[in-house]
Symmetry: none
Subunit: 204 residues, 4 copies
DNA sequence: GATGAATGAGAGTTCATTCAT
DNA sequence: GATGAATGAACTCTCATTCAT
């Protein structure tokens, strides 16, 4: 569906974003980096917005894929969540530019099409996460004294901020390793019996 | 320390950000909105970065003030946290433009001074939050099976995402009211006995 | 002499001009509308100027044809003029894009070849019209107190402006019907006895 | 109402149009010719359309002025018309670039604001001319067997085409002198007794 | 006949900032 | 304190055209 050049453009675009932030993604930079002229870019994408949409879509598709992978391993909500986020960590580690894109909603505010796309992605991810959490609540794995929607925001928000800190630090720690530890904390926070076991541990 | 004009500039700047996003904050817009010429702006702030720094500082000072208020009421970690964030909700409700600024880190990436300032604010807020949480853990209010740093990220991340959703929705729900409910969820999540009480409730 | 593709290109070009004006005639639009690639256009016409020349020629040939038709019906100058212009009205009605081309001299100013072509057409039409008028003057049908050249400009100018108004109105009246009435006015204006008859009418 | 620079810009714009046609009117050419940078233009006119609007307005105001002058000399419809158009000839002679603008409607087709402005000017001029003609018909100076609207189109169309021919010839004849003769022809064509006198002349 | 890929030249426009007054 | 005028650098995008395949 995507030509080689289109893939290359998206790839270089991601690198540019990673290196200089969203502001660094200009047609000029893109063309220079690829080694073609500026108008040549327009042979492959109608305009800059289409490029951004393609990037967002890349992210959306990746999210769905990771979710489906996590769901495929039908091993209970907790494991699914663990799998889901740790694979996200891996993705981000390998492609740090994606992080910049995800956290750039603010910049897209002026372009309705992009706002639309982002909100689509957000609500899609939200739905996927909520469905796992609800399932976990039914199966007694996840505490059900709290609204699944609230729990989803907490899980997502926690992990987003964690990733952001990693980005902000200039990737000066291992997202996958420290991420694993943090993920454990998040999971034990939403676990039904997490607290109790802890308390017992303390008692002993 | 700030002249009247400087206050006015910051005020209008915040409104511009609220209305059109960070991209809407241009010297031209600023001047037009205030009703003076563009060069006049430079009488009051050396350059645009100084304006952004002033905005960030406004936010930093506000954070410290809210934290001190919360700490003043020496009524236990939980109440402090509750107070801290619900007063943030109020601040954001009254001044929605602040939200846009906080989530615009990505845009500031090119400007080292701004990056510096933001990371200063972030780590300051982090320290404040961690100190409350640690205190709560010592006093037995907050679960201490998890790292205070992790808990801080979870609390902050949860509430950040919640606020962001509010912003993204175009403020179509009451941040203070629904925020209160969400805050309760967050608190019960980090509470030492939160889970247990719930379980008991369920049992009965 | 023209291949099928060449005819198609000219045809689509005329439609484009009709729809979006001369500015809408770009190689890109042309190619898209026909359903071939842009370079493919250059297989059939050396460059854009050749296309414009072909369009102008189409118009020139049409003019000659209409003039010869009008002359063939050897029924006096007045009827010839009437026939000539009413058949032009019909042509324009069926092919409104031609109107846009005729009135676009201004755009062609930069291209000497096109200027040349247009002035050729103009003087050709002029000669044809003057020859009819002169004939009419000799035969006592057309007032001969005025220079035939002047009369030609008046007739042509009147009808051009009329057609232009029709175009400008978005074709919101019938060029053939209202054109017929206008044509009557023009003719009675140049008629030798047109005025007298009227005066008599008034007297009665 | 217009600053010196604005007048200069319009002036240079007119010269550019006169020299290279409407296509020659670019911000770059404008800036180069004036001797300032391109962005400097935007201090004086918000965008290119505003410049074109100013040019059209210049023409509109000039039309009204000439009409009022002609009407001031309350000496009968015929003299008014004669005065009106001969003063237009003078204007065009002194400012040939105006001619290029008037005949460039086709180029403005894409810009609704400009189309609007032009149609405003056209109908304004139309109304003015019709009012003079109607007056002449009532006073017995102008033939009243023909619709005043038709007569207006004929007069205007005749003179437009005449001016266009002058422009197209590269101004190789005197618009004012030959225009005077042509104007006489036009006037005698719409005169009530013009034809009769001619007939008498012929009879004698 | 046709295509995909590319290009030089140029379009209009925006931005933060400076300078003389 | 404030202004009018200006600017360099950059931006997205369009156009007619070419070339290898």
């Amino acid at each position: 569906m995507q030509t080689e050049r289109q893939k290359e453009i998206i790839d270089v675009a991601l690198n540019l974003i990673a290196a200089k932030g969203i502001q660094g993604l200009t047609i000029k930079n893109l063309a220079r980096e690829i080694g073609i002229s500026e108008p040549a870019i327009y042979r492959h994408y109608e305009n800059k917005i289409e490029i951004l949409l393609a990037i967002l879509d890349l992210f959306r598709i990746n999210s769905v894929k990771l979710f489906e992978q996590a769901s495929g391993e039908k091993s209970g909500a907790m494991l699914k969540i663990e799998h889901l986020f740790s694979s996200h960590f891996t993705t981000f580690s390998q492609n740090p530019s994606l992080v910049a894109v995800i956290f750039s909603e603010e910049i897209f505010r002026n372009e309705p099409v992009l706002v639309e796309k982002i909100s689509e992605i957000v609500s899609q991810n939200d739905r996927m996460l909520i469905s796992i959490i609800s399932e976990g609540q039914l199966e007694g794995e996840i505490r059900n004294d709290l609204d699944a929607g609230h729990l989803a925001i907490m899980v997502m928000g926690s992990l987003r901020l964690f990733v952001k800190r990693w980005q902000f630090s200039g990737h000066n720690f291992s997202l996958t390793e420290e991420g694993h530890a943090f993920l454990k904390s998040v999971i034990s926070m939403i676990a039904l019996n997490g607290n109790i076991r802890t308390i017992n541990k303390q008692k002993s």
